[in-house]
Subunit: 322 residues, 2 copies
């Protein structure tokens, strides 16, 4: 419901605003979680969702809110995106990101970049400054430099914890994907509804620990990991990307609302617990619809997540179920 | 309707088989078409659709039929894929391809490869021999070589006509996409239904003349340019890829059938003439459903296309409307 807000001119109706974020479905196992680690994650999620919420309450666009939130999560070494990106099997970093504007259905995406501090900003630059949607690898890095994005050193992206995860993955499973204790289904993402009724989604990731160099995941794929349409919803996914690509998960949520008339909650639930699960996929998603409803289903042990919508005094932040 | 076929054991029902192919929505303008050029295209389309049809009539799988057909189109310099690929703005070749199996919903995709004679075979190799779906650039080339695919020379991919198109595009529009007389919306693709009721789709392209190096189009994107699901249909798209990515066109056809209960024809028509057109996109698609129905809508001036289904004496081959 719209909120009635007083103004000097009398009363006007302010539409609901909403933001939801995720920090990946590859959470630390509940059994390995300490109070200290949990507090760190909660603090980071709180900071990120608040940064996006502030954009919305200042009258900013959903597009700016999701970009700012994902940028904040990329800069946080706790999450598998930007600074905290996991390592490929070659001990390099290859990051993917995408952004989509629900109003225009314009989109930008970038994949396999190693030197870009904030892949989400590069994805947005591609959306707003080229006739293309998706640039990859060295060409994307070159485009970034030409537009004033200064390349970061390898040291910036190095975190000891991620390097240790790579060694663990390699020792356990050779060149196979990491399915060790702490599942690396990490990604960050944000979806938002602004006061003009516009929706947007953004996703960013370092991919999976020990993935092959050159592997493109779902985060950068419009329809798979990221989608936004003002008529339905905005969606950002996290999990084992190949399954989200095969199920076209982000777009499926929108299609279930548009073509089947399901609610956001029902659509998001079905996409994760029926379609994705049927293929054997693990992960989750966050979604917001044009009424400001939020859904955050997952079928992994946990999903770092938070949301903030009109009427709430403070953000809801959670990691595991309940 | 299934056909009743006699066998030594008596009678059994043979299910309908179907194949449809396209050679791109970027046809030569009707005003520039000569009888000789038309005959060349018709001959090539006939050869390609027949090669896939022969796989199906020999009891082969839809997956084998679409792979073989696209391989044949890639080897034909008339079409913008494999040997006939257009040039990027750097006068290089960067090819994309994807394949999807409707039975398992497994998929393989490759993007930005320059030395691979048949990108569709590489996409299939990725599908069948890795845990990933989508490999890109140098890593994909390396994987190809490791699996015995001998790199082709640049000369193999050079065609004078494509090089002339690049010069024309450059002289007309600088670094902008080519929208000259002969629109370069070229791609090749195939969709098929086999006698076991399995569907498959494959797509391959050289992209757009004068595109930026590093640009990924819709052909390699599962859901955008390529999709197959035994429950609904198999789809391969051709056209201005960025619009197909934003509309998630291939998957939309499947979603309209599954969620809205539309026919294949109605779904394919809506995806091209409503959803894609609303965004301003140009192109077309080919699709076959689990009953063997075929749809081949386009909103460009023409689309090189052909189909062959049970009950037909010879393939239907067409370029322009009617």
């Amino acid at each position: 419901m719209p909120c009635r807000i007083s103004s000097r001119q009398g009363f006007f109706f302010m539409k609901k605003i909403s933001i939801a974020i995720h920090g990946g479905a590859g959470t630390i196992l509940r059994s390995n979680m300490t109070q200290e680690i949990e507090q760190n994650y909660v603090r980071s999620l709180n900071d990120a969702v608040t940064s996006g919420w502030n954009v919305l309450t200042d009258g900013g666009s959903a597009l700016d809110a999701v970009t700012e939130t994902v940028r904040s999560l990329e800069d946080d070494p706790l999450f598998n995106a930007g600074r905290g990106s996991v390592f490929t099997s070659d001990a390099t970093h290859e990051m993917d990101a995408a952004v989509m504007d629900g109003l225009t259905k314009n989109a930008g995406a970038v994949s396999l970049v190693s030197k870009v501090r904030n892949p989400v900003l590069l994805a947005r630059l591609i959306m707003e400054n080229t006739d293309h949607i998706f640039l990859c690898g060295a060409a994307a890095e070159k485009f970034a430099e030409e537009h004033g994005i200064v390349p970061e050193s390898d040291e910036y992206f190095f975190t000891q914890a991620r390097f240790d995860q790579l060694q663990k993955a390699k020792s356990k499973a050779g060149i196979i994907l990491d399915h060790s204790d702490d599942k690396q289904l990490g990604t960050v993402g944000a979806v938002a509804l602004d006061s003009n009724g516009n929706l947007a989604a953004a996703t960013s990731t370092g991919g999976m620990t020990n993935k092959w160099p050159g592997r493109v995941g779902d985060s950068a794929i419009i329809g798979a990991g990221t989608y936004a349409d003002n008529d339905t919803c905005a969606v950002s996914c996290t999990g084992h990307g190949e399954y989200f690509m095969r199920a076209v998960t982000a777009y499926e949520v929108s299609a279930l609302m548009k073509l089947k008339g399901l609610s956001l909650e029902g659509s998001a639930w079905f996409a994760i617990h029926e379609s994705l699960a049927k293929l054997g996929g693990k992960g989750g998603l966050i979604a917001v619809d044009r009424l400001g409803n939020v859904a955050m289903p997952f079928n992994s042990e946990g999903m770092y997540r938070a949301c903030f919508t009109s009427g709430m005094d403070e953000p809801l932040i959670a990691i595991f179920e309940n």
